[in-house]
Amino acid sequence: MSIEVRFGIKRGEFSLTIDTEIPEHGVTAIFGASGSGKTTLLRAIAGLEAPENGFLKVGGVVWQDTNTFLQTHERKIGYVFQEPSLFQHLNVQDNINYGLARSKRDKSERSLDDAISLLGIEHLLKRMPWQLSGGEQQRVAIVRALAADPSMLLLDEPLAALGDEQKAEILPYLESVYQQLDIPVLYVSHSRNEVARLADHLLLLDKGTIKASGKVTDLFTSLDLPLAHQTHAETIIDTTVTSYDAEFGLATLKFSGGQFVVASNPLDSQTTVRLQILARDVSVTLEHQKDTSILNIFPVTIDHLVKESSSQMTLRLLAGKTPILAKVTCRSAQSLGLKIGDTVYAQVKTVALLR
């Protein structure tokens, strides 16, 4: 089952035209330049904009069509707005309680305490909103949305005001929340990193229209989209753990095109792990090299070659059926004589475990 979304919204010169399906499970990232309509889309889904000819079906229930329009408060959503939007007349605790009191959620539930402590706001509970920093306000807003026991989360750049370290702490928690509740999440983000890490599905917006929509792993390596051509292009691969070497802290991960050995904390066999491979971290050699600290070297065929600039090339390599992007200099490509269909060795310097 999936969420069906059809909207046509006009705002001055801008118009948003959406007709798509969003999976009912997992995280769908909404990605697009500033002004591309991300916030407008979330607002429409929340029922805060009332597009005339809209259609919206969530969990098999029609939220909006020609005859139906569920009011915002009748939609079981949790919404974190782009701007900090705490109630100015309530302290932090009461802001959180506002959502809690109106949900069916058991008030003594431990998970809310978890949220509060994981987002690091225990010491702020008695404060008024204007006594908080920008990032603190955003964190409270996240907890408040979670407290409302939503069956769908709409997050508009919830982590924009937070630093990398803090993000790294909060993201795993958010993931666990989604997974535990098994609710769909629409996540507006500007950060490719966040998307890579969190999202299963991706909706690329451009000037109010959908430029692409599909699985993150596919879209990130699609040469038709700008993502693969950016300097920081990357490949995302979902793999399965086959073994873990506790002595060196190395996990062996299997995917359709071979396997990766990755430094990590202990992992259970058969769990699914997402890997991130920056295109710049992939180099190409003609022979299998020895005597290097690079652990992951495997044969691939060159599927596509794109010259990005006078000096840079993007390669799309196939390891089995799994595409992997590589960025090399034109000079290397020339000196190694690379061309489509060649079989070469891909050296993957670093593999990051995303989740």
């Binding site: 929340a46 029922g47 805060l48 009011q71 915002t72 408060h73 079981k76 959503i77 949790g78 919404y79 707005f81 701007e83 939007s85 109630f87 100015q88 007349h89 506002y98 959502g99 109106r102 949900s103 008024m128 204007w130 408040r144 949305a145 409302a148 709409l154």
Partner: protein, 227 residues
């Protein structure tokens, strides 16, 4: 005791009238102000203008027209009579109606401004947190419009205290029922009983001052921390 028994009665009637009127004003004015602050109706400004109109007539004259309308031959009086209600003129209820009518703009306008200045965002946020329109109104709009409520109550209450023309006209200055302090002071002044007028006016002022201090002082404690 410098204040006569009749003066004390008048003081009591006045406080009762002002309290009841303020209550009625808030009960009637709040939804009206809310509607005015939210409505996109293109002729809304006509309603806004109409609400301000009673202010423009001299109170005694307004009172005269009110008297004629609620009198036995007037449209309102006739209607009330047809419905089997008791006549309104020269009763406390009549006074309340007159005061409410006259002080309405002082309540509606500050409230409308206060509601408008909240903006849509807090209400939208509350809606996403599952608050129904009613719920949003009482838990978000009303507390956030607190300064507006204070202004509305103070202006409405004070204006009713000092109100005079309307009350005199439709109340008939009947001691114990429709004679309010303002009229009693006026009577003293008219009868050249200046001493008594001073005392009564002074008492009213001191009482009101204390009341205002309590209201504003309490408000101050609430807002002092906020920048």
């Amino acid at each position: 005791m410098i204040l006569s028994e009749q003066d004390l009665t008048a003081l009591f009637v006045t406080l009762k009238l002002a309290s009841v009127s303020t209550l009625v004003l808030l009960v009637v004015g709040t939804p009206l102000a809310w509607w005015l602050s939210k409505s996109q109706w293109r002729f809304k400004y006509l309603i806004e203008a109409i609400i301000a109109l009673p202010l423009i007539l001299p109170p005694t004259v307004l009172g005269f027209y009110l008297l004629v309308s609620i009198g036995p031959n007037g449209p309102i009086g006739g209607l009330v009579d047809a419905l089997g209600g008791a006549p309104l003129a020269f009763t406390f209820t009549g006074l309340v109606i007159g005061s409410v009518f006259y002080s309405m703009p002082f309540v509606v306008q500050p409230l409308q401004n206060a509601f408008s200045s909240i903006g849509e965002r807090p209400l939208e946020v509350a809606a996403t947190l599952r608050a129904s329109p009613m719920d949003r109104f009482f838990t978000i709009a009303v507390p956030m419009a607190k300064p507006g409520f204070i202004t509305a109550s103070v202006l409405g209450f004070a204006h009713t205290l000092g109100e005079f023309g309307v009350v005199l006209m439709i109340g008939g200055n009947i001691p114990g029922s429709t004679q309010v302090v303002s009229i009693a002071i006026y009577d003293h002044v008219e009868a050249l009983e200046y001493g008594q007028a001073h005392w009564l006016a002074g008492s009213l002022l001191v009482l009101s001052f204390l009341l205002l201090i309590v209201v504003y002082g309490a408000n101050r404690r609430y807002t002092v921390a906020k920048p």
